[in-house]
């Protein structure tokens, strides 16, 4: 059966991304059933099982990317922060660390002061001569 859903995301990671996409484009929140429908509309494929989507939502909730509130008999799911905020937080986590030592993330170039930016450009001009 899974093979027939060629258009639907199949790997768990892709599924999580797809669900987050739906939640990010609908900040007002969605029920699991609505997510199933919206995913199917996007991919143009058949609907996923609601339980599959609930499993994905549960994983995302445990990692604090999603929260939910009761809405009648179902739950309404919502992204904890917007996509822009996740991107910004993720970049800040890397860039704020003083020359990438604390988190030992290896990043391309450190932040420079305006004076040093000028020095850098000067050095480059030297190269291009």
């Amino acid at each position: 059966m899974a093979d027939e859903r060629a258009a639907a995301p199949r790997r768990l990671g892709d599924l999580e991304r797809a669900v987050m996409d739906v939640l990010w484009t609908h900040p007002e929140g969605s029920t699991a059933q609505e997510i199933v429908e919206r995913l199917a509309t996007r991919t143009g494929g058949p609907e996923l099982a609601t339980t599959t989507v609930l499993t994905v939502l549960d994983r995302l909730r445990r990692k604090d990317f999603v929260d939910r509130e009761r809405a009648g008999r179902a739950h309404r799911y919502r992204a904890v922060s917007s996509r822009d905020d996740v991107v910004a937080a993720s970049m800040l986590a890397v860039l704020k660390t003083t020359d990438d030592r604390r988190s030992a993330l290896v990043r391309f170039a450190g932040a420079v002061s305006p004076e040093e930016a000028a020095l850098l450009r000067e050095a480059l001009a030297e190269l291009e001569e």
Binding site: G13, E16, R17, M20, K63, F65, R83, D84, V86, V87, A88, A89, S90, M91, L92, A93, V94, L95, K96, T98, D99, D100, R101, R102, S103, A104, L105, V106, R107, F108, A109, G110, A111, V112, S113, P114, E116, A117, L119, L120, R121, A123, L124, E126, L127, E128
Partner: protein, 346 residues
Amino acid sequence: MLADAWPLAVLAILLAWPVPTVLARAVWPRRHPRAAIALWQAVGVAGGLSLIGAPLAIGVAPLDGHLRTGLAELARDAVRLRVPEALGWGQEVALALAGVLAVRLVGVTLLSAVRIERDLRRQRYAVDLAAEHADRQVRVLEHAAPAAYCLPGTRPRIVITEGTIAALAPDELEAVLAHERAHARWRHELVVQPFVAWESALPLPPARRATAAVTALVEMLADDHAARAVSRPALARALVAIGGTAGVVPTRRGTGGGGTAADEKASTPTLDRVHRLIRATTAATATSSTATATAATGKTTARATAATATGRRTTPTATTTERLIAPAAWLTATLLLIAPTWFVLR
């Protein structure tokens, strides 16, 4: 009496202060980053072991001047829950110091590794979810500020922003990606992390200098790879383009008085790296023009090309010295690891 204690103490002191200070100031490491990293690692391991070994040797000296047999004797007494009578308070303090240092070094290293891995897992997960484009390894974030970094691991992610793509020409972007791929492929975080951990265990200037030096050397290794894979000028231009605007990214720096100092330290390596690339380029241009000239006169020989391939126009003696630097660093690193071990176990 203190047979083992003195040599170990001297080694510990040398490796704890003067050696890292001198090594951090040396210029040759930027020409031989790999050998220099090996030497730093040996200094770190030998330094840590002698720092624990010296107070241990001082502590067990009244039992036996020889550290190994002295420890064995201490252990025999400890099993019988007895403190040897020969130990004065000075020796007890030395033994306690050795114990505290050992626990702290091991403990902080483990804690730091766990904390970093937890942060990284969260980071990898976040960029996987939020990236607007993703291939097997690269994640593109929709953000105007130029940034490129590697989230290391067994399945590393290379993260770049829309701002990076917008700021760079195709070959410059290729150079940035090659640089990050080098970090990812050779697991450079495994080189840097122990130094970060040791620095938090012993937050002293030499440890700080060691971490800064090793971080810079790892960047140079990745630069060399990117320069080979793409080109030196492209990489230098990319460094200037990204390094020159990275200040735009809002950071928490600059809020306190220490902000300026941190900025200075963080940025100097970028400038260093650009200069290093430029110097190598001009040297290479000089070399290739020499080679062309030689070829034109029909006197070209493989040896002439090989001699100039070192990329430095120097006198023969200086070239010989230059060639000996890397092997000497490797040899010193090996000796630093073997000699104290042999000395203690003999």
